[in-house]
Symmetry: C2
Subunit: 208 residues, 2 copies
DNA sequence: TGCTGTGAATAGTTTCACAGCA
DNA sequence: TGCTGTGAAACTATTCACAGCA
């Protein structure tokens, strides 16, 4: 399935396409052309065709793409055709909000563990999850198994958490702390950093 | 100050550099070379020098960059040398977490308004902010003035909120809803979309 | 000497334009 | 006819390599 090195940005766009296709599918749209999909996703239509071409031929010439089929293929490419087990580190404002966020469960993402260092929080429940002490992180992860660690701690503790996740054998990290985490090359880190986005907005608002 | 069209990605990196410089400054580091800063930020040193070259010459040959000076310049370039007034739309789990998030106030970002449609929430207080009804959005924004609207509503209402913000004259939008918002060209939209990041993680974990 | 600033070379990405096929 | 798939062209971004200067 993976012929060449796929650009990261292509993967991000596939995810956007998949999202829009899911919407179309929900509205019972059966067929879409690259031009229409491109318009909805804010890209050039050749872009979409090129992105898809990395992985195969999913369209029908003269017709377009069958929404359900393409959605299925994209979800398979992205690896979304399975359930992903998440572990949350840091149940502060943001962490708790993530736990309660409906979108996760809807999309095949499921939080199976939550850790915090605050004795006041340990043992309390959010949704159906009991908050465990960070000290038990390695043991608990070993026990239940998680695919992705979600770091939502204070900036200063983020690196330490990442190290513990790595030690526990976790290979994927979603990091909400605005710090540059260091980890071995085989560990994948994605940063969600809204302060960077805010800064970019300020730049644009300042210059134009 | 703005000679040519600056790539968006350069702006993002400047923000990362600024963050690291702030850290260095806090630790009383006076001087840093592009090689050292590059290492800390995970980029090539020529990249840093090129990024800076868009805006001027900030270094000293044979020496490097004075941390305080460069930080000051970067903050000026990004427009962070003023206070930015934010308005929150949607005080759900995520919205409330953002309001309580310390980082914002620390960095010159300040929430001055919060709106929600839920009658149960309207009139209640989070921190020092009273939650206003969405219906009053245009009036209230006119009254107090905000620079950036932060959308943290349900996906289905995000576009409507964006439209109202635009009508109220807001030119910057930080959107947390995983939808592609439409707005006039002079309105700047930045998306914070952690589901896209999660999808990218899944792809990487699936393929390697 | 040891750094920055930058032209030139390289690498990567997007768009065009059209052949090929249902 | 009207779309996809794709080679080629255009554009953009990154890295190299070194001149220039404190």
């Amino acid at each position: 399935m993976k012929y060449a090195k796929i650009p990261e940005i292509t993967i991000h766009r596939l995810s956007v396409y998949a999202r829009h296709l899911a919407l179309l599918d929900m509205n019972n749209v059966k067929l879409i052309s690259s031009v229409n999909l491109a318009e909805a996703c804010g890209v050039n239509s050749a872009q979409i065709r090129k992105d898809l071409a990395y992985f195969g031929e999913f369209g029908v010439r003269g017709i377009g793409y069958y929404v359900k089929d393409l959605l299925f293929e994209l979800r398979k490419i992205l690896g979304l055709n399975k359930e992903w087990r998440l572990g949350l580190i840091g149940v502060g404002n943001l962490g708790a909000a993530l736990l309660r966020h409906a979108l996760f469960n809807k999309q095949g993402y499921i939080f199976v563990k939550a850790f915090d260092q605050d004795p006041e929080k340990i043992g309390t429940t959010i949704g159906t999850l009991v908050i465990d002490p960070v000290e038990k992180m390695e043991d608990e992860i070993e026990k239940v198994g998680i695919d992705i660690g979600v770091i939502a701690t204070q900036d200063q503790t983020a690196q330490e958490c990442a190290d513990r996740l790595v030690r526990a054998g976790v290979q994927g990290v979603l990091n909400f702390a605005p710090v540059q985490l260091k980890a071995p090359a085989d560990v994948h880190i994605e940063n969600v950093d809204f302060t960077l986005r805010l800064d970019a907005l300020c730049y644009k608002l300042t210059t134009d």
